[in-house]
């Protein structure tokens, strides 16, 4: 009876991405028992981690015993499919994956890597969090962010475009603008 109930339960994936380098603190943070319990409690069924060059290996789980199924991989040529199939994305603060996720209108938690020397990346995540397009956390505050977040409060991001720049460049060079 319980099994059939599990099969009926829709697959809801949390996708974690660290980008092209390594971010062990993030992988460790999502591999935390309490974080996984909280995610499962919120109705997520799977946790898929793109762990990059990191050395911390998360513990795999098939998710049969009433908890989150956990799987991981190092790199993939494109994470577009992973993002598309995800119900929640937890990402490093690189602008590429932030905007790719926002364009797909997926709920996003950006985790800032505090170990980076030149930590300008937090600027973007904080600004977009102020504008309510995403949640911003650090590896230490991730659990708190997940327990306190309400996804319905997020405002969809409207992608910008380069037309204003193109217009100014054309004007400057004397090219016709339309």
């Amino acid at each position: 009876m319980g099994d059939t109930h599990d099969d009926m339960k829709p697959k809801r994936i949390v996708f974690v991405t660290v980008g092209t380098t390594s971010f062990d603190a993030l992988v460790k943070a999502v591999d935390n028992t309490e974080v996984k319990r909280e995610l499962f409690g919120r109705g997520y069924t799977h946790l898929l981690i793109q762990m990059g060059r990191g050395s911390y290996i998360p513990s795999k789980s098939s998710g049969e015993d009433g908890c989150l199924a956990v799987d991981y991989f190092t790199f993939s040529s494109t994470i577009a499919d992973n993002l598309r199939s995800a119900s929640l994305v937890i990402s490093h603060a690189g602008s590429g994956s932030i905007f790719e996720t926002l364009r797909l209108r997926k709920p996003l938690i950006v985790v800032v890597n505090e170990d980076l020397m030149d930590n300008h990346q937090s600027e973007l995540a904080e600004e977009l969090a102020d504008r309510k397009h995403l949640f911003c956390a650090s590896p230490q505050t991730l659990l708190h962010t997940i327990t306190s977040m309400s996804l319905e409060r997020l405002i969809p991001y409207h992608p910008g475009d380069a037309k204003p720049v193109a217009k100014l460049i054309n004007q400057f060079l004397g090219f016709p603008d339309d």
Partner: protein
Amino acid sequence: MLAMEKGINCFFSASASNVYIYFITIAIALVVIRVSYVIYRSSKPLHTTSPQPLSTLIVLGSGGHTAEMLNLLSVLHTDSFTPRLYIAAATDNMSLQKARLFESSVIDKTGVLENAQFMQIYRSREVGQSYLTSIGTTLMAIAHALWLMIKFRPQVILCNGPGTCLPLCVIAFFFKVLGIRWSSTFYVESIARVRRLSLTGLLLYELHMADKFFVQWPQLQRKYPRAHYVGCLM
């Protein structure tokens, strides 16, 4: 007699050094005037009545930088910016691949084979490289950049950081000062820069080496009034 000779020597060396100082002063003044003129003229539109296509150098910065640049290219009329030379760092394999993909979409649209070239450039310093060897690699990188610039002599430079574009912009500025080639440099600060400019952006802004300097967040425009706020590219 001896004293007199000494006096004459003194007189000659004094007047010679005066002449040197005179010429050096004039030379410095001329350079300052020329540089000021180039900076003043660069900030003004080109005012061409029937604009011809302009040879364009596009510097791809990897990752998010490349994505933003290709977004910009997709809304420009590529036939006005012809021929195009794409440059990426030698360690960055993805960017030129993405540029080739973009160029093939341009060919699909117009049906003609556009004039596009793709090249990699040495970087002055890789992450973790020692400072001693980086002196040599920096010289290599500058020589390589100079060679590319002499060969292509672009009229338009589009760049958005990070450091790869810096030597190219500096060389372009010297070409303008020396009258070798007039070019217009456009710099778009990355969307990731919300409160502070990147080092490359700051240098190009402060040294007046970008003819137009764009930022994607209003906070930055308030801090750097010569920048143009253009909203988010992504």
